[in-house]
Symmetry: C2
Subunit: 343 residues, 2 copies
DNA sequence: CTGAAAGCGCTTACAG
DNA sequence: CTGAAAGCGCTTACAG
């Protein structure tokens, strides 16, 4: 399609004023008289003129835009984070450009190449599951483009990051099971090369230890992707034990749903025989019956905080110390752990 | 943060060549000798130079970026569409900027204001539920920025749009219930001011008529937002009828889950007593038990087609006739309608 | 095959 | 309070 466009110069000619004045009037510059400002803005409105923001960005070296790299947009967690980012960024006058790494390191590297000197002033990233090298992010430091990581963040690197307190949250979730009288507590764990899933496992272990419950290796089910099918497998494995678990802490809600369904189908009462806790507060956790107790990971808040930090770094000219913001989670208690409260 | 940047001129000086040559070499212009091209590219690599793409965009009047306006990013359907858009756009070298209208017409109007002369070459939009006026989209026509609508599209307007065959899909879903022997078929309907939900209701009615089943107004449950709670209400209402429905076609999966749970709790067997069909193929439909038969609305494909059309319109200079692309849906048959097949 | 020059549409320091 | 001028970093038509 062809585009025709009125420029600032056209407006200037039309009003017999200089381009400088037009530019200032449009920006409500205080030096311009109110009369002139009004006149210019009225005419601009009339002619449907809006300044070419590419030219403006170019001139000011500011694009007011933030890049986001996520593994996939259609994972609920990420869609919530993006929503939180967009919401905050919008209020601050920034727009967001989104890229999906598809959990491929190669694609992540490609994207960073595209993004350098592209039109973003800051970058918010959740690493792919494969990422074990961070060289491709170094260029942003050189270019003065601030980087904020969330959820999956670089290991042992001095970076800005937004994370949740996985260890603590898992500790508390496990403790909740203990308080509800569970003595044999199982755990469905995620990939232990991913720090967040490792932290969840550690939190679980620490709670058991604190309460002098000894671990049973048969009650730890390691998975690769924490998906529904893997959860089903692990839950079935738990059922084969001589003494089945009376509590299960799952590292996400998908596997909690698996465990719940497998156990229910085996005639086990949830929560009376076995209590179940998930992680992430996915919508399904409050729809499946019984509703599942879970950890609210506050993904929207995470996105908001990421955007806040990113924009602060963009606007604060000095390179500041790297920051790590830990989002407080909350345990949402629902039927799946309310033992003795249901008939 | 401060940014320091090497420019094309710096490179030119370094190599004792003109900026023109550098520019051409970097772009693999055929007129430049292979030796020079290689030399320039090597030096660029060495100095970590990449052309300032804002300057380039400004000069070429091409930003290679597409704007998206969705009601909310964290609605699964939209996250899938966005994913489809990003995926296709990425392959074509475009990036996508996302805005959430939050289903507010006012915010939608605000966003279009920001977007005009912003950095997008095309725009993909799903209207807010409130949108009943389209004036705020007219400016894009004037600016030569192609518009593609999806899902919720303007009524009675000559626009580019990507939709699914709601009528047909609903007709077939209802017919599927009839084939499974259902005689009293209920419908949980969406907002009838929204064309897609009206079409689903119409499809349902048409199928009944075709098969000489007369409608019972007591078996039509109208809702405003098709959410879980509304579904529960409508399902309870159906249960109060002297003769309860033996089939329910729900305009989305949320309300299908409501109906399934309410009926199950009332001791009604799904699918033997009552078969249930949803719409959209949300993840929950294949997790809840029994798994729910539903219509796959192929949201990812929808996004892909939207991006494809949008990019074609951007790159085809001539204003073409408006297009409407209808995505073919498919009925995914699961346990909730497999009567006589389960124990 | 390479270069000099103009210019994209703004913004802003400088001058008055 | 307003204007003339320079310039942001590229690209490209024109010339050789």
């Amino acid at each position: 399609m062809k585009r025709s466009q009125i420029t600032l110069k056209d407006l200037a000619k039309e009003l017999d004023l200089s381009a400088s004045t037009i530019s200032r009037a449009l920006g409500n510059h205080p030096a311009i008289s109110e009369a002139t400002t009004k006149l210019v803005q009225k005419k601009a409105e009339e002619l449907g003129f809006t300044p070419n923001s590419i030219a403006s960005s170019f001139r000011k070296k500011k694009t007011q835009s933030i890049g986001i790299i996520v593994p996939r947009i259609d994972i609920y967690f990420h869609s919530l984070v993006i929503s939180g980012i967009e919401d905050y960024a919008y209020k601050k006058g920034y727009n967001v450009s989104i890229f999906q790494s598809k959990d491929s390191l190669k694609r992540e590297q490609e994207i960073t190449k595209i993004l350098q000197n592209k039109m973003v002033e800051g970058l918010i990233v959740c690493l792919t599951i494969e990422t074990d090298t961070y060289d491709h992010f170094k260029k942003f430091k050189r270019l003065g483009i601030p980087l904020v990581f969330y959820d999956r963040v670089p290991k042992d690197q001095d970076v800005n990051s937004i994370i949740i307190n996985d260890f603590e949250a898992s500790y508390k979730a496990t403790e909740h099971l203990i308080e509800k009288g569970c003595k044999r507590i199982a755990h469905i764990a995620g990939n232990q090369f991913t720090p967040i899933f490792k932290a969840r496992y550690e939190g679980y272990k620490a709670a058991l230890q604190k309460h002098h419950i000894k671990q049973d290796p048969n009650l730890i089910g390691f998975t690769k992707n924490l998906n529904y099918e893997e959860g089903v497998l692990q839950a079935k494995h738990f059922l084969q034990q001589a003494s089945i678990p009376d509590g299960i802490f799952c590292a996400n809600d998908y596997t909690a749903v698996s465990a719940l369904q497998v156990f229910k189908k085996a005639g086990i009462d949830i929560p009376e025989d076995t209590a179940i806790i998930g992680f992430s507060n996915y919508p399904i956790s409050q729809v499946i019956e019984p509703h599942i107790t879970t950890v609210n990971d506050r993904a929207f808040t995470m996105g908001k905080e990421a955007a806040k930090l990113c924009i602060r770094l963009i606007e604060d000219e000095q390179e500041s110390v790297k920051e790590t913001i830990s989002i407080q989670t909350e345990l949402i208690i629902r039927e799946s752990t309310l033992r003795g409260h249901l008939n």
